[in-house]
């Protein structure tokens, strides 16, 4: 039941250098493309996998720099008795301090005893696996894990293997070839059938325990393969490789007939059964082939909610569904900076968990716009839609996510924004100015590269809109408010905002005769954000109004306001 306590990668593919202390359970790597997620998974696979022949090429070296060797060091804890064997590994046993992440060359009381395995590939492209120990090196000793131990430790990888099996079913080249041959050599096909009949159920008895586990696991996961699954000679393979044994359902249909998702789900479920021996599992693109409810099921079967975690999982995902199911301590953002890669834990601090649940897509984006409230989110979405119909690229398509802070104190957007900032995202805050945030908080955020777009002096979004739009725009907004909330309510709001100095009719009349007076615009802005009954205080209301009214009117609006809006899109579009 070994677990990876520390990973150190140097000069491997996209990664120049990385040091990472993964979690004992789920390690879900997220981050933009080319941030090294897959390289990390591959590194673990290559270092811990039990393969006698691994082909390395120059392309496996970072920037093709073959002068610096590839080095992958993995420190394993939770060692079983065999791995603590004094005769075999005594000189290589070390200790790991989980608090500080430091590794000492020798075991220590109250620290975990660990082994460090190092894979080195120099320019001769020959991979070398060794155990790391300063004291052994000092004595000129060197050894690697025993082959049996490597096989036990080898992680299970759920990757392209499932596809290989599917390849047979979907009329792939292989299958087509076999069809043609079946015509050409019926005797071979018959021999295969005869062999299958002769072999009969022999495998059934030898593999009874495995079949039982497969049946139970499949049943638990809701994969319909029936109670009486069988192990039979695979007729397909007989004709090619002289006979392999594969799993078949109760009707004698090979289990690889299952969909990608089911196959992956089943392999993951089976892996958990085997966790007593090999507890590390590697999954590329967790969501691949799975509907949302099956993603949730897969995460469940990997032990995402279990304590202590039954498996140590390293996976990548781009699925908001998966993120929503995971805790912040199971999520790691992969980042490059200053020549080093990092996998930063998202963590559970300061409402991070609720951010993950509400805005999982933000974690999958490269840029995040933290909006003070629903109206700001609606505004940007609506404007984005308007811009899209006019031939601009949608900012969402450029990897920008919008996060709603849901109002609250004026510092709240910055709390959330700095959390994203700490994880290496580029972050902007769009905020009202009616309640000003603590100056130092905002300055610190900006100093760290954050961007702030604030409505002008003392304004909330509604103030800004009613002050800045053209006459036509203002009336359209007013009409939309009436449409949404009714004449009476809007009228009441205007009256109360103007302390009965004006009402709806009065303002409409102003618009018809002399144009809307500046003080009326102020009154409308105030009325529009009446407590608990804001005219556009929902994402949908504001989104619609923004798309239908604000967007088209922007060309006629106050240039300073237009500049503010355009700065948001310019920043977002900068993502490239």
């Amino acid at each position: 039941m070994a677990r990876v306590r520390a990973i150190e990668i140097g000069n491997f593919r996209g990664i120049k250098a990385l040091t990472w202390h993964p979690a004992p359970g789920i390690n879900c790597l997220i981050g933009p493309g080319d941030s090294g997620k897959s390289s990390i998974i591959d590194a673990i696979d290559l270092c811990l996998g039990a393969r006698r022949n691994v082909q390395f090429t120059d392309a496996d070296f970072h920037l093709l720099n073959v002068e610096t060797p590839i080095s992958i060091e993995i420190t394993l804890g939770e060692l079983d008795d065999d791995l603590k064997n004094l005769d075999a590994y005594g000189m290589y046993l070390r200790s790991f301090d989980a608090e500080t992440g430091t590794i000492e060359d020798e075991p220590e009381k109250d620290l975990e005893t660990v082994l460090t395995i190092k894979l080195t590939v120099a320019s001769d492209l020959e991979p070398q696996w060794t155990l790391v120990s300063a004291r052994a090196e000092g004595q000129g000793l060197s050894r690697s894990l025993g082959w049996g131990d490597r096989i036990r430790l080898a992680p299970t990888r759920i990757g392209a293997v499932a596809d290989y099996h599917l390849g047979w079913r979907r009329g792939s080249v292989l299958n087509r070839v076999s069809d043609e041959r079946a015509d050409a050599s019926a005797a071979l096909a018959k021999a295969a059938r005869d062999a299958r009949a002769a072999f009969g159920d022999e495998a059934q008895e030898q593999l009874g325990e495995t079949l039982g586990i497969v049946a139970t696991t499949a049943k638990d996961l809701g994969i319909p393969i029936g109670e009486n699954i069988k192990a039979m000679l695979d007729a397909h393979s007989v004709s090619f490789s002289g006979g392999t044994i594969s799993l078949h359902d109760e009707n004698g249909v090979p289990l690889r007939g299952l969909g990608t998702g089911s196959t992956r789900l089943l392999i993951a479920g089976l892996q958990r059964e085997a966790a007593a021996h090999s507890s590390i599992i590697l999954i590329d693109e967790l969501e691949y082939g799975l509907e949302p409810h099956r993603i949730i099921r897969l995460l469940g079967s990997l032990g995402a909610k279990d304590a202590p975690p039954p498996l140590q999982v390293f996976m990548t995902t781009h699925s908001p569904v998966a993120l929503r199911e995971l805790s912040g301590n199971q999520l790691f953002v992969s980042r490059v900076g200053m020549g080093r890669h990092e996998a930063r834990v998202v963590g559970n601090a300061d409402g991070m968990q609720s951010t993950i649940r509400l805005y999982p897509d933000a974690f999958l984006a490269s840029r995040v716009v933290v909006c003070e409230g629903a109206s700001e989110v609606g505004l940007i979405r609506g404007l984005d839609q308007h811009r899209t119909t006019n031939g601009h690229d949608a900012i969402t398509a450029k990897g920008v996510a919008l996060v709603d802070c849901g109002g609250g104190g004026a510092d709240r957007p910055f709390t959330r924004a700095t959390a994203f900032q700490a994880l290496g995202y580029r972050v902007a805050v769009v905020r009202d100015d009616d309640k000003k945030p603590t100056k130092a908080v905002e300055e610190a955020f900006v100093a760290d590269g954050g961007r702030v777009v604030a409505w002008r002096d003392g304004c909330a979004l509604e103030d800004e809109l009613f002050l800045s739009l053209s006459e036509d725009g203002v009336i359209k907004l007013l009409d939309r408010a009436v449409e949404l909330h009714g004449q009476e309510l809007v009228n009441d709001h205007i009256k109360s905002a103007s302390q009965n100095a004006k009402d709806l009719d009065a303002i409409r009349t102003e618009a018809l005769i002399d144009g809307i007076a500046p003080e009326s615009r102020v009154i409308l802005g105030k009325a529009a954000r009446s407590r608990k009954a804001g005219w556009f205080k929902s994402v949908t209301w504001m989104e619609d109004a923004s798309r239908d009214i604000v967007g088209p009117d922007l060309v006629h609006a106050d240039p300073d306001f237009r500049a503010l809006i355009e700065s948001i899109f310019a920043w977002a579009g900068d993502a490239g």
């Binding site: 008795d81 064997n85 020798e106």
Partner: protein, 475 residues
């Protein structure tokens, strides 16, 4: 052979008292066999010879090698501290053993400290199912500390017999049986069936020896006249003691089969050698330090004028009927050309050595002396080691005779000593060896423990030379 219903695998911390010949090794072998698969049991004993002997007996009993790991306590301690040098914080030179007298106690202290700190507790538990320590009466205080701290992690059973505690470990005192050992490892049982004598058809002797042990333990006198058949008292009345002893040493084993152990005074090794040289077919059992050989090797200088004399004296000290002084005189006259008789084969070899001194020539001379009529080795272990060392330094560039002798000595430590048909030694040297007949040359020189060890060496017959039939040795 049941072990008096003592189950070593059921003892989580305890001592089993095991009088001589009561099936202790069998008890260990039986437990190891029953333990079967899974993690091995760590079995520790004291000397390398003990390891060799125990391994041989476990092999013969069919104990699977995977069931146990066998080592000396010191060897295991060295292994531990060399594997974790930073945690034991010992000086690296310690393991070179340049000063054994101080190095061994320091190694033990370092290992005890390492175990006490608990740095390797999980590793011990991962490696061994339990710990069995044999010959625990020979444990020093520091070795006892090592075992005691290991016992905090591993279920531990120690076996031994305070009546057989005759070793001392130099600067490292023995652990006291009652005060130290039994206080930490409570008494879990005592073996009481004299299997060795029962198997040899001498059950009454076996029971009588258990009675003797009990009496000696309590400081009571024993009377040889009340002993069962097989025990002979040879009276030493001062008239012809040496002759009587020599006659006793020539005793034939019952039926002419089996071997004889002749036990002399451990403080007088020269006396033992004299007996060996005067007893046909007897050879000495040598201490593993081969002190005489090492001393000879240090002093022996090929280029020195007295080289031949030293070599001849050495030959005389390990072989019967060698006249060293005559040989030296003859060679001198041959060199001067005053000798009338032509040289013998031995004298020719000696001449070759004098003319062209070499290690090779020294070996040839020793071999030639050994071939002479009437000459036989009574200290063959020393002679063989000497020849081996001379050959080794003759064939290795830059290796001195002294270094070669030390190397041979260290190699010899690791191999078992074959039991000769008729061996002379002290209780210290003969402990752990068993024969059909034991002859004690001077019972009154032995204390209670040495006497008990001496009396229990023979499975069929025992001859005791003493002035009085009543023995009342000090404890």
């Amino acid at each position: 052979m049941p072990g008096d219903h003592i189950d070593l695998l059921a003892i989580s911390r305890g001592t089993v008292t095991a009088p001589a010949g009561c099936g202790k090794t069998h008890l260990i072998a039986e437990a190891l066999t029953r333990h079967g698969s899974g993690k091995p049991i760590l079995v520790l004993t004291h000397t390398n010879a003990g390891v060799v002997a125990l391994r041989g007996r476990l092999d013969r009993a069919g104990v699977p090698a995977k069931a146990y790991r066998l080592s000396t306590i010191d060897g295991w301690a060295m292994r531990l501290i060399s594997t974790f040098p930073m945690r034991s914080a010992h000086k690296a030179e310690l393991l070179h053993l340049a000063n054994p007298r101080t190095d061994y106690p320091n190694i033990r202290a370092a290992a005890a400290k390492l175990l006490k700190a608990g740095h390797v507790s999980d590793i011990l538990a991962a490696n061994y199912a339990r710990l069995i320590v044999d010959e625990y009466q020979d444990c020093s205080i520091r070795q006892h500390a090592i075992v005691g701290f290991a016992a905090q992690v591993l279920p531990t059973c120690v076996l031994g017999d305070p009546m057989q505690a005759i070793f001392g470990f130099g600067d490292d005192d023995l652990a006291k049986w009652d005060d130290d050992v039994c206080a930490y490892f409570p008494l879990a049982g005592e073996l009481a069936t004299p299997w060795r004598w029962m198997n040899a058809g001498a059950e009454p002797l076996g029971h009588w020896l258990l009675y003797v042990r009990d009496m000696l333990l309590r400081g009571q006198p024993i009377d040889l006249r009340t002993a069962p058949d097989g025990v002979t008292w040879v009276e030493l009345d001062g008239s012809e003691d040496h002759q009587r002893r020599l006659r006793a040493a020539r005793v034939r084993p019952p039926g002419g089969q089996g071997s004889v152990l002749i036990i002399g005074d451990s403080t007088k090794p020269d006396g033992q050698r004299q007996f060996a040289s005067q007893t046909p077919g007897a050879i000495t059992v040598e201490a593993v330090d081969l002190r005489d050989l090492v001393a000879f090797a240090r002093a022996f200088d090929l280029a020195a004028p007295e080289a031949l004399e030293r070599l001849a004296n050495f030959a005389q000290s390990v072989m019967r009927n060698v006249g060293a002084a005559d040989l030296v005189r003859r060679v001198q006259s041959l060199v001067r050309g005053t000798a009338r008789k032509p040289p013998t084969a031995v004298e020719s070899s000696a001449l070759t050595f004098v003319h062209t001194p070499s290690h090779r020539a020294a070996v040839d001379l020793l071999v030639e002396i050994g071939k002479e009529g009437g000459v036989s080795a009574h200290r063959p272990a020393v002679l063989r080691a000497c020849i081996k060392a001379l050959q080794l330094c003759g064939g290795t560039e830059g290796l001195s005779f002294h270094e070669a002798a030390i190397r041979v000595r260290e190699q010899n430590r690791l191999v078992g000593r074959p039991l000769p048909r008729r061996a002379v030694g002290s209780t210290l040297l003969l402990k752990g060896l068993e024969a059909e007949v034991a002859v004690i040359l001077n019972a009154s020189a032995l204390d209670a423990r040495n006497l008990y060890v001496a009396m229990t060496r023979g499975s069929k017959n025992l001859t005791v030379c003493a002035p009085s039939p009543v023995l009342n040795p000090p404890i």
